[in-house]
């Protein structure tokens, strides 16, 4: 669908209103705006592109069905993050593949990434460091992983994360700190 006009002139809230009033292009534009965000969030939470794609699809179908219930109390992005996270949690609970999701990239993969570490070349090293980080991220308990991903990868403020997770800011601060600290220890152990 052609959404160029919508994308340049309308706010998220306007698009929600248009969607509620039956404009099919409005949801198309919302999808265009938010699906990279949802996909990358899902990718960092699950660690697997295939799972992230499935989650993104499921999340957007839910967003489509429930968008009428969005009251605008928070930013639409906050609401979208929340739906995506809830979808992820739902899947995690009911999936027989839970173990795989919690530890999406297994130890062996992590060790291999260290063993295959390239030499001095900066880009290769950085790529490898990123791989270690994202691999280690999948090792984190879910509550820490969510908070760290929202903060360090998605760039949300503590207040925004509190709104997405529906917890107090003090809890957000604690979860981020503990998640980062576990990653720090994990990476230092791997690199020793």
């Amino acid at each position: 669908l052609e959404t160029g006009v919508l994308s340049t002139t309308l706010s998220d809230r306007d698009l929600v209103d248009l969607h509620v009033h039956g404009d099919p292009d409005a949801f198309e534009e919302l999808f265009t705006r938010f699906h990279p965000m949802v996909f990358n969030l899902a990718l960092r939470l699950t660690g697997r592109e295939e799972d992230a794609a499935d989650l993104t699809q499921e999340a957007f179908v839910k967003i489509y069905r429930h968008l009428r219930s969005f009251r605008g109390a928070s930013a639409l992005s906050t609401w979208v993050y929340r739906v995506a996270l809830n979808t992820f949690r739902s899947r995690l609970r009911r999936s027989s593949r839970q173990k795989k999701w919690i530890s999406a990239v297994d130890r062996e993969d992590l060790e291999r990434s260290v063993d295959d570490r390239p030499g001095p070349e900066e880009r290769a090293m950085r790529r490898d460091a990123h791989r270690q980080l994202t691999s280690s991220l999948a090792e984190l308990p879910l509550v820490f992983r969510e908070a760290v991903v929202l903060r360090d990868i998605e760039g949300l403020t503590y207040e925004e994360i509190a709104a997405v997770l529906k917890v107090r800011i003090g809890t957000v601060r604690s979860r981020i700190a503990r998640g980062r600290d576990r990653l720090r220890i994990l990476l230092e152990t791997v690199n020793e």
Binding site: F31, E58, L133, D152
Partner: protein
């Protein structure tokens, strides 16, 4: 500040999410404590490293699938879709779980309460309980409630005494308010209402019930372990007491 700074403070310092007092305290501590500085740098490496993780391109099929599924939903938005969505939405179930538990608990309490009331009602004013003799009550000890109860008992007793009766074998039936009641059967116990001509009725049951057909249109009786109401729907050959 204590000997070493808490991880939480160091992490929040990294994000500039501390109030002014804590921010100054952490900054000063980091200047003096190499151990905390090492931890801070480790946390910082993690944070910076994650921020540099590039966004991955979204596979094209994601958009294709979403559009297809939404298209299907637009063409058939029904209750089943919503129910399916509800079942899939564990978070919603989680939110509703306490409400559901509360409703169930209330339902159980109400059920128990209603059973208690029903038992009391049955004990107080039995509709048909042989041998239909009123209990002996000393008049001088009656409270207003007991008096009312006794009046009700007497009314029930006289109604029962006046009710036409029929015997089928050794089973006694009384005609009350347009229904044949088997002796000992109470209205509140009815577990099943059956239409005698209902083709869904099991053949064995039909045969068992046929013996009561001569009573007439509506009969409440004990059938095996339950009280049932049978509607003969005028097809029976039996007659009511008016015609008896």
């Amino acid at each position: 500040m204590s000997k070493h700074a808490a991880r939480e403070l160091l992490s929040a310092y990294l994000d500039s999410e501390l109030d002014e007092r804590d921010l100054v305290a952490v900054r000063e501590h980091l200047g003096d404590c190499s151990a905390c500085r090492d931890v801070y740098e480790g946390l910082s490496r993690v944070s910076i490293g994650l921020r540099q993780v590039a966004r991955e391109p979204v596979p094209v099929e994601v958009g294709v699938v979403v559009r297809r599924r939404i298209g299907q939903f637009r063409s058939r938005p029904g209750l089943s879709e919503r129910f399916e969505d509800f079942l899939g939405d564990i978070s919603m179930q989680t939110r509703l779980a306490p409400v559901f538990a509360l409703v169930m608990a209330l339902a159980v309490i109400l059920y128990i309460f209603s059973q208690g009331v029903a038992r009391q009602e049955r004990a107080r004013v039995p509709i048909i309980v042989g041998p239909f003799a009123a209990p002996t009550v000393k008049l001088e000890e009656r409270s207003p409630a007991a008096e009312e109860e006794a009046v009700g008992m007497r009314a029930a007793e006289s109604k029962l005494a006046a009710a036409p009766e029929r015997w089928l074998g050794d089973r006694r039936f009384l005609w009350l308010d347009g229904i044949w009641f088997e002796e000992g059967v109470e209205s509140s116990e009815i577990a099943l209402v059956v239409q005698f001509d209902d083709p869904a009725l099991a053949e064995g049951m039909r045969l068992d019930l046929a013996q009561f057909e001569e009573l007439g249109e509506k009969v409440r009786l004990r059938y095996r372990d339950q009280v049932i109401e049978v509607l003969f729907d005028g097809t029976g050959t039996g007659i009511g007491p008016q015609q008896d």
